[in-house]
Amino acid sequence: MRHFLNDIEISPRNRDSIGIISEFVDEIRQLKLTTESVILPNEARDIVLDHIQTNGLFEGIPYRIELNDGITINYYADLLSGLSIQSQDINVSLTKRKSHDDFVEKAIGTSFDLMVSEGVVFNTFNVPYFVIQDDQISKGITLSISIYIMTQEVIRQAQELTEATTDLIKAVTLNVGLGVSVDWGDVISLAIKVLFRLVLFALLVVALLKLASQMFVLCFPPKRNFKATKFKELLIKGCQYLGYQFESTLLDENPNWTLLPVPLIKDRKSIFEYLPDEFFAPFNTGYPGTSDSVSTLGQFIDTLKTMFNARLFFKDNVVRLERRDYLYNQSVLNIEASLPLQPERSDQYKYNTDEVWKRYYIKYALDSNDTHSLDKIYDFHDAEYSTEPLNAINNDLVTIKGLNQVNIPYCLGARKEKLNWFEKIAKEFFQDLDAVVGLFGGSSNYADIIGERKDALMISDPYFTITKVLYTSGGKQQSDYLDYISATALWDKYHYINAITENAFEIRENVRVRITDSDFVNLLENNYVEIDGELCELIDVTHIDESHDSKISYRFPSDYANGKVQIKKIN
């Protein structure tokens, strides 16, 4: 193993103990050093000090390790982490360039606002929505009373106008029929009465229409648009910004996952100063900001790992988000492992019982500012499973325990599928209003507008406070969106592999293996290997080139849970 600092070959004081370790469980951390830091004496120390003088602490120094078979691994000396300067030596910690740690550390501090301020353009799209407030009953009562009063008054005025017209007709026709002269004074007086009634009727009709149109806006705020972005778009642009490419078969297979940021942006119109139909610009940016459930790329990725039971996989310059067992069945390497306890030449293993859980609870956040998230959609926001013993002899000795809670910091968005009772009542009234308008030569389509109030997102207030996840196509959630997005769907697609019936293993640790440098590098791309004819998952691989010492920890498939427990869906 040869070491190069800024392309100059050096010899760290602790080179004999420096190995390389790759960990694959929880987080995939490839090619970390087995030591906390490298100790750099003499010339290497001077290189570091020169760099600090010239470039400062905020830019790392390239560090390269060369193995056999022409294998090169690029690191950098991170001067902001673990730097210690002594009279003779300098201790620096190394981070792999373009690696999990490098990416994650940068992503966690990279906000979407920052990316946008530096020219990143996220392809956002419109998500139409209706505000369906939770005061439908009071609105219904108000509308009903108003409709009743207005209608009665119109009917009364219409009757009086009819009577006045009848009087006028009588005044003309009776006199003519009797063959006596017409009293034109009476006729004119009655014609004036008809005209007066007509004006009153006209006033009432116009007032009714104006009131109805204002009431319409208040009761039925127009369909407006939020801006949203697909998960994959945020990840592609975010990774691109950090110098990586992003790929994901998980999101390719389910491309409609959409993030709807909260409608809390500065310099927007106040909802208390304007009528609902006076807002034109969307209330949000379409990408997550400081008021959202996540505001940085790293936070966003963490939530997706939780949601999808996923991990980040790194290969070359490509970051992948995939379900944690993505590499299963892609194995090519066969490893001959020795027995764990070499001196005794005996086997030693333990079961992965720390992965047994009694309760598995997947839960989206609920937003008290959006009553719809507490309404029908509530039924889909969580899913609960239990590991139950089969055929236990002494139930009090059953030791299955533990809670595995999957907290998703996003809220589901409710789809408005049909008209509600209030809209149905109002639609009937506005149908007649449209007819009245048409009767007098005008044109209105209030009833049609009410009829179209469906097939879109619905929220109960113009503002909500928890970022929503949607599953959209053309900006709308399709009728089967819950098949993709509900907590149960997340279990069925991504989390069921965490059931102990699917996830039982024997764990063997620190098992010596004979692998070449090339094998070691190949293992970085796929941590599933064949051992003793079974596909096993490596937990970690340690390779110390200087001592030709390689060790692995791995999970060997087991059937210890089969027939002993079952997974029961609680809700």
Partner: protein, 74 residues
Amino acid sequence: MDFNKYRENIEKMKQNLDFVSELNRDIFKEIQDPLNQKEYAQIIADTDRTIELMKKGDLNELHNLQKRYADKNS
């Protein structure tokens, strides 16, 4: 709320208005006295105007008409 009754009333009213409009013109033809003729011409013009204002939704002008004919009607 009986919306059908409401619609029937409005439709009857529209028919009445059309009828009144024709009736007014017939009456006008029978009036000989120039003063009455002049007054009736104004009634016809204001009737037509009322219907126009109703179509336009001009509440202010309708209010003005209402004031004028409230005095005459009383």
